[in-house]
């Protein structure tokens, strides 16, 4: 099934995670924007990408700024 990259909901989800982790909102916004920008750059070179690959790219980018945020993003579907 094809899905469009939903930037808005991703930002919203990451902001919720960041707040729950106690990351200051300014810093969280900066991490998230940089991650999204970098992800979009990578996506430009590809027409189609699997959901897992997209998640891997986002996790890799988030890891550069905040390891716990990246960990939560990567693992929240694997908790139960």
């Amino acid at each position: 099934m094809n899905e469009k990259f939903d930037e808005k909901s991703l930002i919203k989800e990451l902001k919720i995670d960041a707040r729950a982790l106690g990351i200051p909102s300014g810093a969280a916004e900066m991490f998230i924007n940089k991650t999204i920008d970098q992800t979009k750059k990578i996506l430009k070179s590809k027409n189609i990408i699997t959901k897992k690959d997209l998640e891997r790219i986002i996790t890799k980018e988030l890891k550069k700024y905040h390891k716990d945020l990246a960990y939560v993003y990567e693992n929240r579907d694997k908790i139960i």
Binding site: R19, A20, R76, K78
Partner: protein, 235 residues
């Protein structure tokens, strides 16, 4: 069966219930999303209603077991202790193997035995819950898939509690104490998540202890089977 055997069975059943991972897992995610979306006060309020939902579900399970026993006692079915002990011991041994083999999925993370669709539905509900009724309902349904592992524990605990008599503590009060103790991990999770320990830390510790809990819960089921069967054999 002596008082000590009954107490031993109760303690083992309680330890297994405290070690099961589905309700705490859903609660961890629920608290995480609430702390990210709402004020601390609202997150706390919703967490209390989630725990209340779990407690009501446990209470209804006990009421259901009570009704079944009441129904059976009014029929002509004769309860022979030894046979019932063997049946329960058999169930516990089956659960011992089931826990060891498929309680945790053999994948990364702490994915449990429930289907992926059910897990995604729980995660979605935890993410989108926004008021007390959502929180209560999520708490209420959180333990239902795990009844496969917990219903025999509730049943054996019910039987053993009915045999015990404590001064100043009636049977129903004993059940209430049992229900309250079984939700203590949820209070601990809330306290940890609302202080300095976030979801990432808690999940890392769950992954680290995954094998330990797999073996621990299986061993407890086996010990429970032995404790149930021994009085049947000796009598």
């Amino acid at each position: 069966m002596s008082v000590f055997t009954s107490l031993g069975i109760l303690i083992l059943a309680m330890l297994i219930l405290l070690s099961l991972k589905l309700i705490p897992g859903i609660f961890m995610l629920f608290t995480h999303f609430n702390l990210g979306k709402f004020s601390r006060k609202k997150a706390e309020d919703l967490s209390i209603f989630f725990i209340f939902g779990v407690e009501i579900m446990f209470a209804l399970v006990f009421i259901f077991i009570n009704s079944i026993f009441h129904l059976l006692s009014s029929t002509e079915i004769i309860f022979e202790n030894a046979i019932f002990n063997f049946i329960f011991a058999g169930i516990m041994i089956a659960l011992c193997f089931a826990t060891f083999l498929f309680y945790f999925k053999k994948e990364s993370g702490t994915k449990l035995f429930i289907s992926r669709k059910t897990a995604h539905n729980f995660i979605l509900k935890a993410k989108t819950a926004k008021n007390r009724s959502d929180a209560f309902l999520l708490g209420f349904i959180a333990g239902i898939p795990e009844l496969l592992f917990s219903l025999p524990l509730f049943t054996i605990s019910f039987i053993e509690m009915s045999k015990l008599s404590f001064p100043y503590l009636s049977f129903s009060a004993l059940i209430l104490v049992f229900i309250f103790i079984s939700v203590i991990p949820l209070f601990i999770i809330y306290t940890l998540e609302s202080t300095n320990h976030n979801l990432a830390e808690l999940e890392k510790s769950r992954i680290k202890n995954k094998t330990f809990f797999r073996v621990f819960i299986s061993t407890l089921y086996l010990l429970l089977a032995i404790l149930i069967i021994i009085p049947g054999v000796t009598s």
